[in-house]
């Protein structure tokens, strides 16, 4: 415990002791300081700037206490003046310096007025402190420098990754960023979807979607008919758009060229690339297994207008003046611009007019197909990947997959319950139980069999011998301590013995400390010829009650409470010739022999118990503490067996068979394992 006490942390808010690994106080919920604190990162996770660290050091330097102490150190080098001056200074600062410091200084002055002792130490301390301070500063700076370098490297890496990147599915980086910035436009983009709505196509941006995106970006200024910019997106670099587009339509549709320096990609945030937003149109859970791996070619894809479904490739990107201005403000985006080539310009206007109606129809079809698509959504499987247009690292992808699996399996038991038994074992247990039940029921129905041919055991013989020696007028204390569950067995064993004693003229006194025996024990009460009903007396406190009546004596100042409850309680064992314990528990017999019997060593004790207790009570008989006992089947003549002997024998036989079966099955299993081992060898 002392070890654990050393590992507790105190909450700064309420003072509650918490475990070392706790993040929050268990009492007030205050967030405890981090277990691992990096020297160069503050609690907010922000990197501390060198300025802030210097500021901290400066503030330490400006600390009154330290300043005061420094002044004191410097002033103590001289013998008298500093003291006086210091005192004056201190008096001015008395309100600020704490009392303990004052006392220390006074004592120092008294013990070492010359200050020589302190002088050297102070000088050393000063030098050391200064040195340490500079060392600390240096260490801080180095650490910060290292962290900065590392973060720069990481930034460069991610930038490189991002600049060259076309997604595994062939989605260009600029497109991904568009989707990230305009997730709301995905809904609109869905409406643009037409044509084939199979899984392959659903994961791809169509030209119309792109067009729609562009329109939103540019606004009303966009007019496809007036634009002369075309794009030529080749399928090799942008398969998701080009794959599903037929060549015929590509020939018929205008091709647009996107200016070299045009882009509508917002500024990159290289520090925190957002790869978590699904930007696909349609259901982001849909996966495309057939997407080609991304190409790392810096040149942008040439988008060919090849809609399979007759979609037109309209002006995807334009170069409005606004965009150009924005573009000039984003020099970094130039690295990510795709290059598009203009193929035909004059055909655009004409073909647009021709296909305007077709577009409307296609939009409607796309909406309907989208609805159908939603119904046929496939859930994520372990083999499928998360949305491919998200730029995810592998571990992020794995984690997302795990999360998806967990969500899917919500409500289903996936982890096997440890204690759950399989069906086979339940069935086996049921069969065995039914076997025993059938055997016992059949034997009960057939009727009771003959008496068991059991000899009188030595302890039973001793009990019989002891009880036979009792004479009329002797008092036997019958101590009852059994439960309703074993009443059938106990009563069968005890009733004949008690009846025999009663016939001998022996006086029986029944006592119990078990509440249930007050009514259970009535079955054992012998019929009294004198007409006096024999009562069962309740001894409170269990064995403590018996011990009180045995070991304690009645005080002179009055009756103790137990004497009020038990009449003649203190003479419980004094006037007794023999004690007969009727108990179903070997522990009660043992406790009686340990606690009560030693106070009356000459008083013989007999016991009547269940067959469970036989083996455990036998040592006490062997040692002479018990004069005799009766447990289980008594055997011998004259012992009435009201239990159905046949049912008893059937039960014992079935248990024997089951035990032998268990041994045989185990031997067979071992033999099978051995044979398997030989075969493998």
């Amino acid at each position: 415990m002392s070890e654990l006490a050393d590992q507790l942390r105190t909450c700064p808010n309420c003072g509650q002791q918490n475990a070392m690994h706790s993040l929050k106080c268990i009492r007030c919920g205050e967030v405890l300081e981090d277990l691992f604190v990096f020297d160069d990162i503050d609690a907010d996770g922000q990197e501390p700037t060198p300025e802030s660290i210097s500021g901290v050091l400066a503030s330490l330097n400006e600390n009154d206490l330290l300043t005061d102490q420094t002044e004191t150190e410097s002033s103590d080098t001289t013998e008298s003046q500093p003291i006086e001056g210091d005192e004056e200074g201190r008096s001015g600062d008395a309100s600020q310096t704490p009392d303990w410091l004052e006392r220390v200084r006074e004592r120092t002055r008294k013990e070492d007025p010359s200050g020589e002792m302190v002088k050297g130490g102070q000088a050393m301390d000063k030098r050391r402190a200064a040195g340490e301070r500079s060392q600390v500063d240096q260490a801080f700076d180095e650490v910060i420098q290292r962290i900065r370098e590392q973060s720069e490297k990481e930034r460069k890496k991610t930038r490189k990754m991002e600049t060259n990147l076309v997604d595994e599915d062939g989605v260009p980086e600029w497109l991904r960023r568009i989707r990230e910035l305009h997730p709301a436009h995905e809904q609109d983009a869905k409406q643009v979807l037409t044509g084939s709505q199979d899984e392959n196509f659903d994961d791809e941006w169509t030209d119309e979607e792109l067009q729609e995106l562009l329109r939103r970006e540019i606004g009303d200024e966009y007019n496809p008919g007036e634009q002369t910019v075309f794009t030529n997106l080749t399928s090799s670099n942008n398969p998701e758009i080009a794959e599903d587009q037929s060549e015929e339509e590509s020939e018929s549709l205008p091709k647009y060229e996107i200016p070299r320096d045009f882009h509508n990609i917002p500024d990159d945030d290289f520090d925190e690339p957002d790869n978590t937003k699904p930007t696909k149109p349609g259901n982001p859970e849909l996966l495309d297994k057939n997407e080609d791996p991304p190409e790392t070619d810096n040149e942008g894809p040439d988008i060919e207008a090849e809609p399979e479904t007759g979609m037109e490739v309209q002006n995807l990107l334009e170069t409005p003046p606004d965009f150009e201005d924005e573009e000039s403000e984003q020099p970094e985006e130039e690295e990510n611009e795709e290059k598009f080539s203009i193929t035909e310009s004059d055909q655009i206007e004409n073909e647009l007019e021709e296909h305007a109606d077709e577009l409307l129809l296609e939009r409607e079809e796309s909406e309907q197909a989208e609805d159908r698509e939603k119904k046929s959504l496939k859930p994520l499987s372990t083999e499928e990947q998360v949305v491919p247009d998200l730029l995810l690292l592998r571990d992020q992808r794995d984690r997302a997959q795990v999360l998806t699996n967990i969500i899917e399996q919500e409500g289903h038991r996936t982890i096997p319950v440890l204690h759950e038994k399989n069906r086979q074992s339940k069935l086996g247990r049921l069969i065995l139980a039914l076997l025993l039940l059938a055997g016992v029921i059949i034997s009960l129905v057939l009727g009771p069999g003959e008496d068991l041919n059991l000899p009188l055991s030595q302890p039973a013989g001793a009990l019989q011998e002891k009880t036979a020696k009792l004479q009329t007028g002797d008092v036997v204390l019958v101590v009852l301590d059994y439960q309703a569950a074993t009443s059938s067995e106990i009563e069968e064993l005890a009733k004949p013995v008690l009846d025999a004693l009663s016939h001998q003229g022996v006086s029986l006194r029944f006592v119990t400390s078990q509440p249930v025996d007050l009514w259970l024990g009535e079955e054992l009460l012998p019929s009294n010829d004198t007409g006096f009903a024999v009562k069962i007396e309740f001894i409170p406190g269990g064995l403590l009650g018996y011990l009180t009546l045995t070991a304690g004596s009645s005080p002179d100042w009055g009756m103790t409470p137990i004497e009020r409850v038990v009449s003649d309680g203190t003479k419980l064992l004094d006037e007794t010739s023999l004690v007969m314990i009727i108990s179903d528990s070997p522990d009660f017999v043992r406790n009686w022999l340990e606690q009560i019997s030693p106070w009356h060593p000459d008083l013989p004790t007999l016991a009547i118990s269940t067959s469970l207790s036989e083996a455990l009570i036998l040592p006490y008989f062997e040692s002479g503490q018990l004069s005799g006992f009766l447990a289980g089947h008594p055997g011998g003549e004259g012992q009435n067996q009201q239990a159905n002997q046949r049912a008893w024998q059937v039960g014992m036989l079935i248990m024997m068979v089951v035990l032998i079966l268990g041994m045989i099955t185990k031997a067979e299993a071992d033999a099978a394992v051995k044979d398997e081992g030989h075969n493998h060898a």
Partner: protein
């Protein structure tokens, strides 16, 4: 009342069947039967404790106030208040006094009782089995008695050694030597024999109870047939 007897017998049969339904798996009926048993047992125990212990031994002595029995009766009342207060407070400190008193008392009783009632007699019994009056009969050694005495001594030591050796090998404090394993094996034999006897005894008790329960059900069915 024969009707009440029949009703009570029917109740007994139904309750027995509810308990046996556990063979089909843990179910509602078995749960109801168990909680019914727990409720009735707890209720009856509480009634007996209140009417036969608390009132006569704790409350009624106060009637003799201010005599010594009444004053002495205040002590268990104080203990009881402390014990009951632990139920209503989060801290278990108040209950420490009465429970500590009880624990100390029971510990002292255990030491005295076990030493006098088990350890000494059992060890003496082992030693007394080598009594010359037992091992020698008519001037000749009684080999049976000698053999039994040695077997008893060896067996008890082997059983005690088995538990000691078992805990050592579990903690890997000692490398098992062959002779230690052999001696421990002898202890295991005797323990196995005792466990086998206890197992049969327990099964015998349970079988008797099963026969009694089934008898009750069969008698009830016969009554209706």
């Amino acid at each position: 009342m024969p009707d009440l007897n029949l009703l009570l017998t029917l109740a007994g049969v139904v309750l027995s069947l509810m308990v046996f339904s556990y063979l089909l798996g843990d179910n509602l009926f078995f749960g109801i039967a168990m909680y019914l048993l727990a409720g009735v047992s707890a209720g009856y125990t509480a009634v007996v404790l209140v009417t036969r212990v608390i009132i006569p031994m704790m409350i009624m002595p106060l009637a003799d106030f201010p005599q010594i029995p009444a004053l002495l009766a205040l002590v268990p009342i104080l203990f009881s208040i402390l014990l009951l207060s632990a139920m209503f407070t989060k801290s278990s400190k108040p209950a420490g006094l009465p429970l500590g008193f009880l624990a100390g008392l029971l510990a002292a009783l255990s030491i005295a009782g076990i030493a006098r009632g088990t350890l000494a007699p059992q060890l003496l019994s082992i030693v007394n089995s080598f009594d010359p009056q037992l091992v020698v009969s008519e001037g000749l050694p009684n080999w049976t008695a000698i053999f039994e005495a040695f077997m008893m001594l060896l067996g008890v030591i082997a059983v005690l050694f088995y538990f000691h050796h078992r805990s050592k090998t579990k903690n890997n404090l000692q490398s098992p030597d062959l002779w230690l394993d052999g001696f421990s094996g002898v202890g295991q034999v005797f323990i196995g024999i005792t466990f086998g006897a206890v197992f049969v005894g327990l099964f015998g008790t349970a079988l008797t109870a099963l026969i009694a329960s089934l008898n009750r059900i069969i008698d009830f069915v016969r009554l209706w047939l």
